[in-house]
Symmetry: C4
Amino acid sequence: TAMSNVGPDAKIFAPYSIFKGKAALSADPRLPTFSKSESGGYKVDRRGVIMLTFWPAIGERKYDWEKRQKFALSATEVGSLISLGSKDSCEFFHDPSMLSSNAGQVRKTLSIKAHADGSGYFISLNVVNNILKTNDRFVVPVTTAEFAVMRAAFTFALPHIMGWDQYTNQLPYQASRS
Amino acid sequence: TAMSNVGPDAKIFAPYSIFKGKAALSADPRLPTFSKSESGGYKVDRRGVIMLTFWPAIGERKYDWEKRQKFALSATEVGSLISLGSKDSCEFFHDPSMLSSNAGQVRKTLSIKAHADGSGYFISLNVVNNILKTNDRFVVPVTTAEFAVMRAAFTFALPHIMGWDQYTNQLPYQASRS
Amino acid sequence: TAMSNVGPDAKIFAPYSIFKGKAALSADPRLPTFSKSESGGYKVDRRGVIMLTFWPAIGERKYDWEKRQKFALSATEVGSLISLGSKDSCEFFHDPSMLSSNAGQVRKTLSIKAHADGSGYFISLNVVNNILKTNDRFVVPVTTAEFAVMRAAFTFALPHIMGWDQYTNQLPYQASRS
Amino acid sequence: TAMSNVGPDAKIFAPYSIFKGKAALSADPRLPTFSKSESGGYKVDRRGVIMLTFWPAIGERKYDWEKRQKFALSATEVGSLISLGSKDSCEFFHDPSMLSSNAGQVRKTLSIKAHADGSGYFISLNVVNNILKTNDRFVVPVTTAEFAVMRAAFTFALPHIMGWDQYTNQLPYQASRS
């Protein structure tokens, strides 16, 4: 196999994907963008997220990517997920058209519910679209091991989607004593 | 959107901010500076901190940045915060003029108090300034999810404000066998 | 000692090794490879793993590396290991010839069993090879401290074997405001 | 203040230091060195450690650095320390002359003992030197917050003293499909 280097400006696809009976779920981080402020520094322009994508099973080990729905977890929602106890549950509501004229027309609900015996979680996404008159629902059972991967990977990604890695990438400057 | 790279010497603004009814709270890391020692190495000159900034609400979703007060968490205070149990509380006292002729004139108290039901914390800052005859108090209720973000981001930042990332940025030298 | 730099394309050997009475166990991470997708980005081609290697003792402090057997932990199996409680156990089954004509001929079983008193684990590998008519079994008792090293090192390595570090190695692009 | 960059081959001093009534304690990481193997790769030559240094108080806020004693924590001893529960204790024994003709002449004992009320630990070092006929003992009480800093910083440093960061610093190679 010939080898060559992946450049630092390459687009990377390395989602963590879970394929189950009725749907598949994948997660990958999206970094923030920065814009130059008037003072010459850089501030976060678009916040980073962890993007969850759900798509339905349409047969044995076959899934329909065209019917996917997305849910973008904010830093605080990631905080909620990584601090979830083995018996806890949480629920998030998003309106992708918030503050536009279509506000309230599409409603996305992500729910994470612990199994009663603490052996994992159901992660489900419900998307109600009043414009298209559609109602999509995806349920993916996630084992403790799979959730541990998500917890560890999300904890790793969290400072990066917040942009805090950019502070620590700065050069360590020396204060001169002159 | 045109894209260009943020350089390694750019000043970065990526605070984690929480806006609540009576005040807002933001946190961001400040790295240590190093100075050259006589032996030719570099030692920490000014210690790194995590800077907390509080500023008051002055109307619905309006906050007055001019009235902000700061509290710089040391590495050990960060250690206290990240190890706080869901029912625990802690309190830190700072005198920004310590060791100067104004010592004792300004007293800052940061307090983190768990809600009785374990559902989050009150983070409050009290600044008593005997010179200006002012007494500022800010209280920000923080949810478990928001505190989990702070815990994860502060844990990430801790080795960096201590300067330990500089050890690990050093080149891995090879011991030759000659 | 003369010093020179280890280059970024050098092959590194830094396994975490545990030598016990009947066998030795070592662990080291193997990063994923990426291939160029049609859209110009890079996607994971071969998934990363944490490779466990077992080899038998053949005398006092002597071990036979030629008789080693390997077990490649996937991201989800690493998730299972790092979330293991001090009284928990888990077991994984691998068929190295899965989907080939030799499927089912070699069966590898890795088992992690907590000591009854919570003082550590037995990590054992059983390899049954129906072609070679061999049955190899290795048992390595691992203390709580050794398991803590594995847990911390595997948690560190997990985002890297998933390829998530490649997202965060990307340059922070600036969205221009023009 | 003029600023200049700290180079990647600079020697760094950024110990985490705790000054108490009878002694001071500092900790800093020492990275492993690598040597070139015959196969062209690099393997760990000298293992990394976290170096603990103790030195005695000789008056109010005065400490005698000349009387310091060191204890080098291995990866597994670091694993023991970071997994210590709030009521747990542990003890390590080192012989700096092990395998030499002076074996057994110097005996170092590091002990970490939880306070009965879970509010911190006593970290103490005892060095018995039969050649010099000396017996040095240092005891440093460490608060929960200080121990949390050590735990977080040691967990950060652990993969680096093991050399695992060198795996993840390698360039992500692309498998070509030709």
